[in-house]
Symmetry: C2
Subunit: 637 residues, 2 copies
């Protein structure tokens, strides 16, 4: 009989799944793109925009340089693609940076990779949702007072959907994803056709604002900063490698298909946007000024005007941005599961939940990013500079790990593989250096502090588990010398069915039973049961035991001076241990089973408190026996 | 080693007291007046004021009639005094209306008395604190925005002081109480001297505002309403009778002294205020108009001017008003204790807490009145009409009970006693009728609904306990036929010291032990321990058992399809019960003892969940054994 909470749980989260149902819960590439790809696809919106924003001081001159910035980014993307393509085959069971580093670079660097990924995934949720809501609010200004509830509501939606499972998330978010891909494909194709057919100078249907003259000369530093800013477009490429266990068999095929889909779509979007921006003479606008429009919005209306296609494209882009947090919800719990299985995170992160996803990781991610969204009021611009550092640190570690992997490998063709990953290591490492230097003052320094702190926490947790394991380790066989039956203490309040049941249970455990009654337990004035109990003991316990020739359970009355049961009981336990030469002692607690909430108000729950205190006392010879008694089932036994 | 919470508790509440310390925690009349008398003394401020407010339409004519209203009130007070004087002797252990009614009028009327008192005590806290804070705020208008936090802060203070004990409350609140009594004695004595020496027409130092002409003719109805309003001055007279157990021996002496102090001071205040108001021509002012001053404030400044004595008198009056809630905190828990001891309230109300007061009652009172204060924003004027109904219902029931008591009594002088209580019954009953009729529309109807609802709740609770007791009742002796040892199931995760300890404990309870390992407990992909465990079982358990000629504990691996332990275990329990012809079964749970908060984050606490589910399953042959294992103490045993 499920309670109200249980019924709401079933409604929200679906029924509890059995282990054997796992195969049917895995996803293919169709669900993989919405589940894991939204972070990557959403990046197409802010990568080029961020690069163009850095180039604003060049005015109209920025258009001449955007190609120089975006081309290396797209090339880097291709290098990452080929590298991860290889990684997926080498590590088909979650080949993420953590595993690759652990196998090839050692524990410390693997923890660095794990910490970077964790920080990145948390930031991705907060930044993704607030960016999406920010875009939504700038489109519908009436929603402006509700930014925080909107952010938290979307977070709750994504959390619940992912608690239902990755399959459900993939299916639910498929519609906006494919709408986004389709509509932008149409916009870019139209734009390219116009550009080519007009010889590179198409006429804008809605003209973007005229770009001004340059206020600054071009410099290598400016281009490097633009490159660093544009690199945010690449976060999300590692998603597939961290979430491989979500795919059904043949896993490698589905994973590679999803990776290809993400990279191909992202690459075409980036290249297309960069090319069309320069053709249509679209630059970034100052976000802090009124009338701001994003690059993609300008581009879409320049190419197709302000018609239905524009609204579909921008609307689905909004959804993709808002839901880009989903990538974190797919990968973060799987990453945490691996880290927890190695003992660096609490064990609960390694437990498959009701719907066979790692619910603890999902809930933790939701809580931390929820706190960030709440504290920052849903406006997380300050967090954006922190963002790319973790991703590129992960890329570099993952690529470097693969280099080591190929060096150790005996596979044919390992040299060309090694070459590709070496290029990947070098380029992502260089990009990381540029990003850290370019964004250091804006906030990258925070990441540089936070990631080592996370690593330290992971190591402390591991130290605890290691210490515990070394103390629990047992290499000797079972000792069978002392199997004497224990002395059983039965806590007795009054003469009742509960007491009789407990005594019967006690006598089945040992022939030496002592009943303990606590006097003045409710206060100095209260001692009602004692007299009656002592009389009944003679008639109802001692007499039949004598008749049956058994040792009768004794009754001992102990004063509860401080109105707590555990103190006198523990004193008696120590006394018996001394007298009994190390015999074990079992304290038996008769307990009324409470099935309804109001019973907890009407009963004192002394049993729970007693059990807790007895267990905490840490006596190595003590055990606690709970004897349940249920009102409705046993009144006639 | 007390935790942080424990240390804060000690600091706030003082150390835990032993039962034997109770005698030293009892109070005398010196602490009794501040502890129980503030409700009564504070009444002097609003009783005459309320009566004069009803008389406002008479203008200056009200002065001629105030004597006709206040004289019966003071007479009624004297009747109540004599009645309670007798009651205290007849019922020296909490002779409150509940006990008197229970002994003489039956259960239903005693519950009516209890419910009236409870409602009244809750209202007294809310109304007392908000009236005090209201007066404070009208004296210091800068505090106006903070009414709600002020109210809740004072409530918290009174709660904590009373959780420390009635003795502490009596001592802490003695200073403002005796300051109030002393300063108003001085004011009234000065006023009387001036009035007598001037032949009834003293000259006011600060003249009160001139009273206007009558806007309405005097009527019996108006005078009855004024009488009903003035009767609020009498709430608090029953306090001593409900709190008798707080006094030290000789209890009757201390109780009677406290009662006398309260009634004599209150009577003189009422009489003095009524007489001086008419001499100095002081009427009530409209509270809703600017420049409002209370009757006592006008009186004090008329008699002694706006000097130091004025400020001491009004300041201490403010304290007395604000702290008048303390009476409820002394009596409500003691009343609830008696009602709970009879099974009409949850058992926790009958338990003496850390400081030998009934903490559950104190906390419950604080919560309910805190909610009232919070909901009403600290302005509880709307609750005042509800107030006197409960008090006069209690008076009437208590007096009627005493009449029955004396009729049954064989004591000498019982006739005169009966006569006094009969007059008390009649007068308080008549006053109750007047109050209900006069205040019905203003809110007394709410009390008329709430009190029966409370009575119903008390009866439902009693029904639950009665039903439980009848099912637990046992009149037969202990049966000793079936003392077969149980089958013991040991939940085993891996081969560790914890497992070894649990197996050893299990073997001391029974020779038939089955170890149960749950496969795929963490999820479909996880089954690490199984292989190693099966191998170790052969070497470490079965081999030594065979060598010692014992029956070896078997190892059974059960699939945990839904990742919960209790389902497969319960299935096994049922299977064994069927096979074992009703043998008892003990499930043994090895448990790591968690002493630090962070351990709860790092461990799964599966044991607790398993225990809960097994107990809830309600199998009459099942018991649950907890075997604690403590990291630091047993690693080398």
């Amino acid at each position: 009989m499920p309670g109200l909470a249980g019924r709401i749980g079933s409604l929200l989260l679906g029924r509890r799944l059995a282990n054997r149902e796992q195969a049917q819960r895995r996803i293919g590439a169709f669900e993989g793109l919405p589940a894991m790809g939204l972070d990557g696809l959403g990046s197409s919106a802010y990568g080029p925009e961020a690069a163009l924003t850095v180039l604003i001081p060049l005015g109209a001159g920025s258009l001449a340089w955007i190609g120089w910035v975006m081309t290396p980014i797209v090339l880097l993307l291709l290098i990452l693609f080929v590298s991860y393509w290889q990684t997926l085959r080498a590590y088909p069971n979650n080949g993420g940076a953590y595993i690759v580093s652990k196998e090839n670079l050692g524990t410390n660097l693997s923890l660095l990779a794990a910490a970077s990924l964790m920080v990145d995934y948390v930031l991705n949720v907060a930044v993704g949702i607030s960016a999406g809501v920010g875009a939504l609010v700038s489109a519908l200004p009436t929603l402006h007072p509700h930014i925080r509830p909107l952010c938290l509501g979307i977070l709750a939606l994504i959390t619940v959907v992912n608690l239902r499972g990755t399959l459900d998330a993939g299916r639910l978010f498929a519609l906006p994803t494919y709408l986004f891909v389709g509509s932008f494909a149409l916009v870019l194709a139209t734009g390219l056709f116009e550009a080519v057919s007009s010889g590179g100078h198409p006429r804008a249907i809605v003209a973007p604002p005229k770009l001004t003259g340059a206020s600054e000369a071009v410099s290598v530093w400016l281009l490097l900063r633009a490159f660093a800013a544009g690199c945010t477009a690449m976060t999300g490429v590692e998603a597939v490698s961290n979430g491989m266990t979500a795919f059904r068999e043949p896993r490698l095929t589905h994973g590679r298909r999803t990776l290809s889909a993400i990279v191909v779509i992202l690459g075409m979007l980036l290249a297309g946007i960069a090319y069309l921006a320069s053709c249509y003479e679209i630059g970034a606008m100052d976000q802090t000024k009124a009338g701001y429009r994003s690059v993609l919005s300008q581009l879409a209306s320049a190419v197709v005007g302000d018609g239905a296609l524009y609204f579909v494209a921008i609307g689905s882009l909004l959804c993709v941005l808002t839901l880009s947090a989903n990538t974190s919800f797919v990968d973060f719990p799987r990453l945490c599961r691996m880290v927890a299985a190695d003992g660096f995170l609490p064990a609960s992160f390694a437990i498959a939940g009701r719907r066979l996803v790692y619910s603890a990781g999902i809930l933790y991610l939701a809580c931390v990013s929820g706190v960030l969204l709440f504290v920052f009021g849903g406006i997380t611009d300050a967090l954006i500079p922190l963002f790319a550092v973790g991703a590129f640190l992960t890329f570099t570690l993952s690529q470097a790990g693969m280099v080591v992997h190929w060096r150790r490998s005996r596979e044919p063709g390992r040299r060309s593989h090694l070459g590709i990953n070496a290029i990947g290591t070098f380029t992502t490492g260089a990009a990381l250096a540029v990003i850290v230097i370019a964004k250091f003052k804006e906030g990258a320094w925070i990441t540089v502090i936070v990631i080592p702190v996370v690593v330290a926490v992971l190591k402390v947790i591991h130290g605890y588990y290691e210490g515990l394991a070394s103390r629990m380790r047992m290499t000797a066989p079972l000792q069978l010398e002392d199997t004497r039956e224990p002395v059983v203490l039965v806590v007795v309040e009054s003469w009742s069915r509960l007491t009789v049941k407990a005594l019967t249970m006690a006598l089945s455990l040992s022939s030496e039973v002592i009943a303990v009654h606590l006097a003045q337990l409710a206060g100095p004035d209260q001692d009602e049961h004692r007299q009656g109990l002592e009389a009944k003991w003679r008639d109802f316990v001692e007499a039949p035991a004598r008749a049956a020739g058994l040792r009768a359970p004794r009754l001992r009355v102990l004063p509860a001076s401080y109105r707590a049961i555990h103190q006198p009981i523990l004193r008696l336990v120590r006394e018996l241990e001394e007298a009994g030469h190390g015999r074990r002692i079992a304290v038996l607690i008769p307990e009324l089973v409470k099935l309804r909430w109001y019973q907890h108000l009407l009963h004192l729950d002394r049993g729970r408190k007693l059990r807790k205190e007895l267990l905490r006392a840490g006596d190595p010879r003590l055990m606690v026996v709970d004897v349940p008694w249920m009102k409705d089932q046993e009144s006639r036994t």
